[in-house]
């Protein structure tokens, strides 16, 4: 490895060393506060390193990694999301679990997996990144062993994720068998050599779509979403919804752009059907739900559908729209689950709609932040979610994807209903005394500050999107 190679993988080194440091720290003495500090400091340091020293030029570490603007931007996004999730985790796990320290190792390793995913240009790094992410998530989902639902959620995720990995592997094997290369560029070269796709490659890509679709939670493969979201601890749910899905989305975009999958109408048609089905089914399933975690799960299915619209539009604008929507969606989702985590008590998460009754009168600030997050998910103007949708529509219209754009508009209207329903619940008259779950009010300060920062970001991006858009345009370019 050359010196530049080493400098380019320093973000991965930092994460690995942080995980090992935490292991040693646990061996000496279990101290939640110290380990929390190591986690946050290393994630923040990693982000600062990327922000300061990342070159916008492309650097390739043969044969596994490509470090370019797109990868760097997504790495930064993943690191910041992991940082925000670890911020809300402290207060959450402090009062719920006696052995909280391993959680941070798993969090860091999962983040490492996602980072590997977004900079990979080879099937091997793709698969290893995906597996590091998944294996860490199995344990994170089941982390609160005393909870009733956690085992169920963990087992469901374990079996389905392993199964979808098998699909992905078999698809890769088929593609490799006919392309003779596991590098994305090598596959692209093979595909470019003939005008039509051979059935073997087509079957391979189809099987890979199953594996990728599972991770994204899009419609034919969405069954796990609601149960896993419900059973996992609230910060972990936020993590699955953002880092896990976002990492996979970034990978899908890179893979498709490199192999130029946009040429194949059959493939595009399949993704269009998946996008439309995800939007509709996600929204319809959410309509009748009373469980806020499940509502957010179903809404995440439809949000991935929205992102796929921008993905299908393709081109530089489409990729930038995907990235922008991911930024907006990450902020909003972590905020919403952060509020959920703050309101939860020792035994169960605040997941039913009744838990939010009269919240506006009891804790106006919390309710205001939650309202902002929900409005952003619904895509109301002045929030980041609106600008995100605006860019998706712009990308879709620019490419003449009228059907998809129309479906997106219809679904935004449907989605409005259940978000508004939660908000309306918060304004209902205040009936019973909420049980005082504020065991250590001081540890909620960190969560509170994180929430406030996320809300400010949400409104700032919503009202003044040019700053973040310039950043994305500077980093995210095709080729």
């Amino acid at each position: 490895m050359s010196k530049t190679d080493l400098l380019s993988v320093i973000p991965i080194f930092i994460l690995t060393s942080a995980a090992i440091l935490i292991l040693f720290s646990i061996a000496v003495k279990r101290n939640h506060k110290v380990i929390y500090l190591i986690t946050t400091v290393s994630l923040a340091a990693d982000f600062i390193y990327i922000a300061l020293f990342s070159a916008k030029t492309k650097w390739i570490i043969e044969p596994l990694f490509i470090i370019d603007g797109f990868g760097t931007f997504n790495t930064g996004l993943i690191l910041l999301s992991a940082l925000a999730v670890s911020m809300i985790s402290y207060a959450y796990f402090e009062q719920r679990e006696e052995r909280k320290e391993e959680y941070y190792i798993l969090l860091i390793l999962a983040t490492l997996g996602a980072v590997v995913l977004v900079i990979s240009k080879h099937f091997i790094s793709l698969f290893l990144g995906l597996e590091i992410l998944s294996v860490s998530l199995y344990a994170m989902i089941t982390y609160l062993r005393k909870r009733e639902r956690s085992d169920e959620a963990g087992i469901k995720y374990l079996i389905l994720a392993a199964f979808s990995s098998a699909f992905l592997l078999f698809g890769m094997a088929l593609v490799y068998a006919s392309a003779g290369s596991m590098e994305f560029s090598g596959i692209a070269k093979h595909l470019a050599s003939s005008s039509s796709m051979s059935p073997v490659v087509f079957a391979g890509l189809g099987l890979m779509t199953v594996g990728i679709g599972f991770k994204l939670g899009v419609v034919p493969f969405h069954m796990w979403t609601a149960d896993v979201y419900e059973g996992a601890p609230a910060p972990v749910t936020a993590y699955i919804a953002t880092v896990s899905k976002g990492g996979m989305m970034a990978l899908l975009v890179r893979f498709f752009v490199v192999i130029d999958g946009y040429r194949y109408t059959a493939l595009m048609m399949a993704f269009a059907v998946i996008a439309i089905a995800s939007m509709f089914i996600g929204n319809f399933l959410a309509l009748r739900q009373n469980n806020v975690k499940r509502i957010l799960a179903y809404s995440s299915i439809s949000h991935v559908g929205y992102i796929l619209v921008a993905f299908l539009a393709g081109g530089t604008l489409g990729v930038q729209a995907v990235t922008f929507y991911l930024v907006a969606y990450f902020i909003t989702t972590i905020g919403a689950f952060g509020i959920l985590a703050t309101l939860s008590d020792r035994d169960r998460d605040a997941e039913m709609r009744e838990d939010y009754k009269g919240l506006f009168w009891a804790r106006p600030w919390t309710a205001a932040i939650f309202t902002a997050m929900l409005l952003s998910l619904a895509g109301i103007p002045l929030t980041a979610g609106f600008i995100g949708k605006f860019y998706i529509v712009a990308a879709g219209v620019g490419n003449g994807q009228w059907l998809l754009v129309l479906m997106l508009a219809v679904n935004s209207a449907i989605g409005l209903y259940y978000y508004i329903k939660i908000i309306a619940t918060m304004f209902e008259p205040y009936e019973k005394e909420r049980p005082s779950d504020q065991l250590y009010p001081s540890i909620y300060i960190v969560s509170g500050v994180t929430m406030a920062v996320l809300t400010l970001l949400l409104v700032w991006i919503g009202t003044n999107p040019s700053g973040i858009m310039d950043l994305i345009q500077a980093f995210v370019r095709l080729n």
Partner: protein, 175 residues
């Protein structure tokens, strides 16, 4: 050479089907070993003797031993011995024995028949595997280490606490 490949693959597929259709764990395990062996023979025929050896050592050896450990830990009662004797009746061994005999004959034929490389594929020996693992793919090896680390940390946490597992549907039925 083509024929040997297809025979070994057929054995592998048949053994795997038997694994997932057996109700008895020990019987399934017998076929599982066989399935690994058949895959190893397939690797050997395709010109990858090193991977074939690894397949036998790691899967048919280590992983099956681990599964046997798990089964042993689950059956600690006195009647388990009697039960085990019942499971391992003579008839059970006929199927796996026939299949492994096929594999043995085939392996002997392939080894004695002049050279493996005549299958048309280039031979991949241990040195080539090592050179590529510790050459260009060294980051991949390190990432596998990290993968194992996350697995171990997770398994440690989940295995530490004991908990009565009640599925929510079962719980409802009890009420």
């Amino acid at each position: 050479m083509e024929v040997t490949f297809y025979i070994a693959s057929a054995v592998a597929v048949y053994a795997t089907i038997m694994v997932i259709t057996r109700h008895n764990l020990i019987h399934a395990l017998l076929y599982l070993v066989l399935s690994f062996m058949a895959v190893a023979v397939v690797f050997y025929i395709l010109g990858a003797p090193f991977i074939a050896a690894l397949e036998v050592i790691m899967y048919a050896g280590a992983i099956v031993v681990l599964i046997i450990f798990v089964i042993m830990m689950l059956n600690l009662k006195a009647e388990a011995v009697e039960q085990e004797r019942k499971w391992l009746s003579r008839g059970i061994f006929i199927g796996p024995a026939v299949l492994s005999l096929i594999l043995l004959v085939e392996l002997l034929y392939v080894v004695t028949a002049s050279g493996v490389s005549s299958s048309g594929y280039p031979m991949v020996d241990a040195k080539a595997v090592g050179m590529s693992l510790y050459g260009p793919y060294v980051i991949g090896v390190e990432l596998s280490g990290i993968l194992l680390m996350s697995g171990i940390v997770g398994a440690y946490h989940l295995g530490r606490q004991k908990k009565k597992i009640v599925h929510r549907f079962l719980e409802k039925a009890e009420e």
